[in-house]
Amino acid sequence: MSNGQDGKSFFLDDEEIPFEDGQTIIQAALSAGKYIPHLCYHPEFKPHGSCKLCTVRIDSRTITTEDGQTVKIPGRAAASCTTPAQDGQHVESETPELLDLRRTLVQMLLVEGNHYCPSCEKSGKCMLQGLGYDLGVMSPHFPQYFSKREVDASHPDILLDFNRCILCELCVRASAEVDKKNVFSLSGRGNTKHLICNSESGLLGDTNIAATDKAANVCPVGVILHKRHGFEVPYGQRRFDRAPISDNPVQYAPVKEQV
């Protein structure tokens, strides 16, 4: 593989990945067609580093002890969406340890909210569900949290089902950075942290969000839904029916600006 524009590259699971100065590990990997699981990363927004699905290990080492045994010293764990790529570094992603970690994170997200895929209209195009399948999540594993969250249907075109929020803040960033409306925020701390709407009533219907806004179209799960369109796409034609979430990494890569 040829090096990047700046002649620099790193190794991801022993495969050489070119990158340009300023690119993060995940940006370079996805551009090169190597998938790293993620939920809060989005190519159009500043990295957030909160979901930790994209965690990788950097520069693990192997040493030989005095008695001749070979021991692997794990490299540092880092979110690949916030860590700049560096020339010559060795990055591990598809290791059993990291896959287990990601599987656990997805399981924790699944039990923290009320993710009833069978009746969720986002099923088949939900990134959390897609990752669950990709990582081989076969059971919730953890006890259900059974959180009780109300649905906000006050907006004429958009419905919010807070039961499915994974606090990725993509809608927060989209509304602030792209739509310039600041419709969404997170409130509370720890396990009381939750998504809110920035209106006096707290209702989405009292904000100035529109169905065409970026924030209304960026939710990776089934929180922000366009009303009256559920289940329009039949089985077999939904996004992840056609191919698993990891099938086409380049779709998540940053789009290069035309010169």
């Binding site: 069978p118 009746s119 209209e121 109300e150 649905v151 009303k227 009256r228 369109h229 329009e232």
Partner: protein, 499 residues
């Protein structure tokens, strides 16, 4: 005619022995039967109890209306298409779809008739044929579908493949064999492709032929032993079902008709939009399942039965030729009188399966089935009622939706609930005729279950509960001391153990 309340409540229950059949096996869901006997084994009280409760109606509230057809079908794994379509029909009213496009309606009909085929095949071959082919008190180790497969491999094979075909029809129209998403408020989300149509069409004639064979099996059983087959678990009652505007059998849409026990029409072409004034849902303290009755007749006289036996005798005609020929034979068998023996359900059910197979073929040959116009809509509504003839009988879905598109009210009357009183009367009739004064045996108790199975009850639907199949029967003396106990495990093995 046996009075509906006879044997419902004993005068002195504290002095009687109590026998419990729990759960009832080879039915969908979880129920139990209690029988109170005196020291001479005379039956004083028999009740079919539905003991589970899930409350779908409550947690549908607050959900967006377009989610309901997909959500509500989860209350059943056997006939989810019925709930999927009944909810869709109700939500059609919310989106103002007074008349679906021809393609959408035919796709829904195809889905529904596919379900009718698979559900009836499942019930007849898998659940009931062991009783019918081997005898109600035959060797319990053989009395199951595995026993049928060993003794009658051709019958078992046809049963399995008929069901498979029905499920394939459902998969092609809804996306999945169980719990698909094909029907949406205002239409469907896909038509058939020519390839899908041809895939189903290649087996359609075979399914019709095998359905004819199935009717022949049950017809022969009736003719060989009319004393048993025409009279067992007899429930003389009103019969209610949907019929189309010309009085024909229609599983997908129509208006309500009822005939009295003698076969006289009591009401006809009554719009189901007024079901809540036509019917009242009675309750009893010993069951989670309600007891609906025709309001004008009161709870004592207003109860009725639904399902195949009601439908076949309620309609004036079946619109497919071979099923209509069989219906005429069925009617002729009664010599001018309606059949109320519970085993008649099986015969009627197989005629319906034949009708479903014929209708599937007709729909597959219709060019509309591959049309592109699949959605429609109109002025927004706030209340929707959808009724359909599910495999087990008339199914009512009723919703109210607010300005924000959320459901504020849901009421379901499922097929099995409509048959609640009739099933209780049937088991009391059997208990009185077969158990009264006799020593308890597994075979005798199976007579009770055979009567329940005739109705093909879906107790999961009726109570929204899932059940297990093992059976445990306890015999207690008048003082409540356990004197005998029989246990049937999941494999059908029976062991008797004195306490």
């Amino acid at each position: 005619m046996m009075h509906q309340f006879e044997l419902e409540t004993a005068r002195n229950p504290e002095a009687l022995r109590r026998i419990v059949i729990e759960p009832v096996s080879r039915v969908e869901g979880h129920g139990k039967v209690t029988i109170l006997l005196d020291d001479d084994n005379k039956v004083h009280q028999v009740r079919l109890h539905i003991v589970e409760f899930r409350g779908f109606e409550k947690f549908i509230e607050g959900r967006p209306y377009w989610e309901v057809p997909v959500l509500v079908q989860r209350l059943c794994g056997i006939c989810p298409v019925s709930h999927h379509l009944a909810a869709s029909k109700a939500m059609d009213m919310i989106v103002g779809a007074a008349q679906l496009t021809p393609t959408a309606e035919k796709i829904r009909r195809l889905m529904h008739y596919g379900q009718m085929l698979q559900s009836h095949a499942l019930h007849f071959f898998h659940l009931s044929s062991p009783d019918l082919l081997f005898g109600f008190d035959s060797d319990v180790a053989q009395r199951n579908i595995v026993g049928v497969a060993a003794a009658n491999p051709d019958v078992a094979k046809k049963g399995v493949l008929l069901r498979k075909f029905g499920q394939e029809v459902i998969r092609v129209t809804s996306g999945k064999r169980v719990h698909g998403t094909g029907s949406v408020p205002g239409g469907v989300n896909k038509p058939l492709t020519p390839e899908e149509r041809d895939y189903l069409l290649k087996d359609a004639d075979q399914m019709v032929a095998w359905s004819v064979d199935a009717v022949r099996i049950i017809k022969q059983l009736h003719r060989a032993n009319p004393g048993l087959y025409d009279r067992f678990g007899e429930v003389e009652s009103t019969m209610m079902s949907l019929v189309d505007p010309s009085g024909d059998l229609d599983f997908y849409h129509g208006a309500l008709r009822a005939r009295d026990a003698a076969g006289e029409v009591m009401f006809d072409q009554v719009s189901y939009q007024g079901y809540h004034t036509l019917l009242t849902e009675g309750v009893k303290p010993w069951s989670y399942m309600k007891f609906p009755y025709i309001t004008a007749l009161g709870d004592e006289k207003g109860w009725y039965k639904v399902g195949p036996l009601a439908r076949i005798q309620n309609c004036d005609r079946i619109p497919t030729p071979q099923a209509e020929k069989e219906r005429l034979e069925f009617v002729a068998h009664g010599n001018g009188k309606p059949m109320h023996g519970s085993l008649g359900f099986h015969w009627a059910r197989m005629i319906e399966m034949l009708c479903a197979a014929e209708t599937i073929k007709t729909l597959l040959l219709d060019p509309d089935i591959t049309g592109a116009d699949i959605m429609t809509g109109g002025p927004r509504g706030y209340e929707g009622i959808g009724v359909i003839e599910a495999p087990r009988g008339t199914l009512f879905h009723h919703y109210r939706v607010d300005d924000d598109d959320l459901v504020t009210y849901a009421n379901l009357i499922v097929s099995t609930t409509n048959n609640n009183t009739a099933m209780n009367v049937a088991v009391r009739d059997v208990a009185r005729h077969y158990l009264d004064g006799r020593e308890l045996t597994e075979g005798l108790l199976n007579h009770i279950e055979v009567a329940i199975r005739c109705f093909d009850p879906c107790l999961s639907c009726a109570t929204h509960a899932l059940g297990k199949m093992p059976l445990e029967v306890e015999l207690l003396d008048a003082a409540g001391i356990l004197v005998d106990r029989m246990v049937k495990d999941e494999t059908g093995g029976v062991r008797q153990s004195l306490a």
